[in-house]
Amino acid sequence: MLGENFPGILEAARTGAEWAWTAIYRDLAAAVLGYLRAHRAHEPEDLTGEVFLQVVRDLSRFQGGEREFRAWVFVIAHHRLLDEARRGARRPLDLEPDGPAVVSDAEGVETQVIESTAADSVRRIIDRLPPEQRDVLLLRVIGDLTVEEVARAIGKSSGAVKALQRRGVASIRRTLTEEGVPL
């Protein structure tokens, strides 16, 4: 977070100051890239670059503080993901590269879970969430958006977002409990 420096940085960015854009990029790039990675974007690095280019182009239309700016950037990232999905370039959400998504053999599941690292476990659990729950939780956790901001980003009501995040958290807890995923 840029904190109290944000207004000055934003104004400098509006005038084209490269140092300001560097500060903005370094503040948000990791989160944007993580959000895109969690969604299994085809080329998350390239898509991150496109997101920031869009931010540069549309900055003249933005008004607000740092929280709104962060939410705005993630809305752009979310829309970029949707565009990529429409183009069909998005990698299908299967778990074949890392392992089978559904394993009927309970012993096999246990073996795989034990062998996997904590990071892999996190990603697998996210992958297995229904898309809407995944969208909400990633925007809330990685994007650090409020319920209202998430609702605006995905075009749903605040009540729907709250319900989705509760279901998502419940699903994750159940998985952690039942499968003993190491973290």
Binding site: T15, G16, A17, E18, W21, T22, Y25, R26, A29, A30, A31, L33, G34, Y35, R37, A38, E45, T48, G49, F52, L53, V56, R57, A118, A119, V122, R123, I125, I126, R128, L129, P130, Q133, L137, R140, V141, I142, V147, K162, Q165, R166, R167, G168, V169, A170, S171, I172, R173, R174, T175, L176, T177, V181, L183
Partner: protein
Amino acid sequence: MNAPGANEDEMRFFTKLTERELAGILAGSATSGGLEDVATFFREMRIDLEEAPSASVESRHLAGIFEEVRHLQPPAAEPLTTAATGSRRLRTPFRLLAGRATFAAIGLAVLAAFGGAAYAGVLPTPVQDKVAGIARHVGLSLPDKHHKSRKHGGGAGSGVQHTTTLDQRPATNLGADNGTQGNDQSHGTQDGSQSNEQGSGTEGPGQGQGTGAQDNGQSNGVQGTGSRRTGGEGGQTNGDQGAKTTTDVVPTESGQGAQNAPPTPSKGSSADGSQYGDGAGNDN
């Protein structure tokens, strides 16, 4: 994961959670209520996913951002950074090249127009002579006022090219003036039949063009009009030759007649008759 038969008790449990408690879980800070493992999961998720881009990716992204910023900023507000100066330096040679290309294009256009005029022989006499002289040095043959009669002054048969000796017109215009030329050539040198032949040569499609009036006026004017149907053979013979040299000349009935006609010796006084014509090469 979120199976239809999800534990209702579990869902009821989460429904009872306040938004603040849920936000704490998502932030990875829950420490009680049996939700520590879930909070840990979200904390790990944030750590795992929020990985900064590599240095190379970051530099590539920043370069793209800076380029886009420069592209969007108006020139007056463009900061005088090293990169911006570099971009101006890059643009300068292109501007110079564009200026040179413009000059070159203008020069080529002038050259083409001037050359075309010189080739057509419509330049003022002194200029035309000079240009023709220069062109001769490089092996090009351009109409020359002084050398015109030698080059184009054909016999009566050429029909097309002789008029230039009288009216100073270039050979290229001759195709339209066929009717008149024939008359000119026959002027005073041949009988009416010759002059008429040449005149008849122009009776072909679109050749008459009424231009005979010009040359006839200069020569004798009468022959052109009176001789068209009575065209003699000699002139026609030459008319064939003339047609070869001029694109405007279309074979006419006189041309056909010329094949049958015996060649008529030139009675003309034109020194240029030697080139084309056997016939009434009698320009002046």
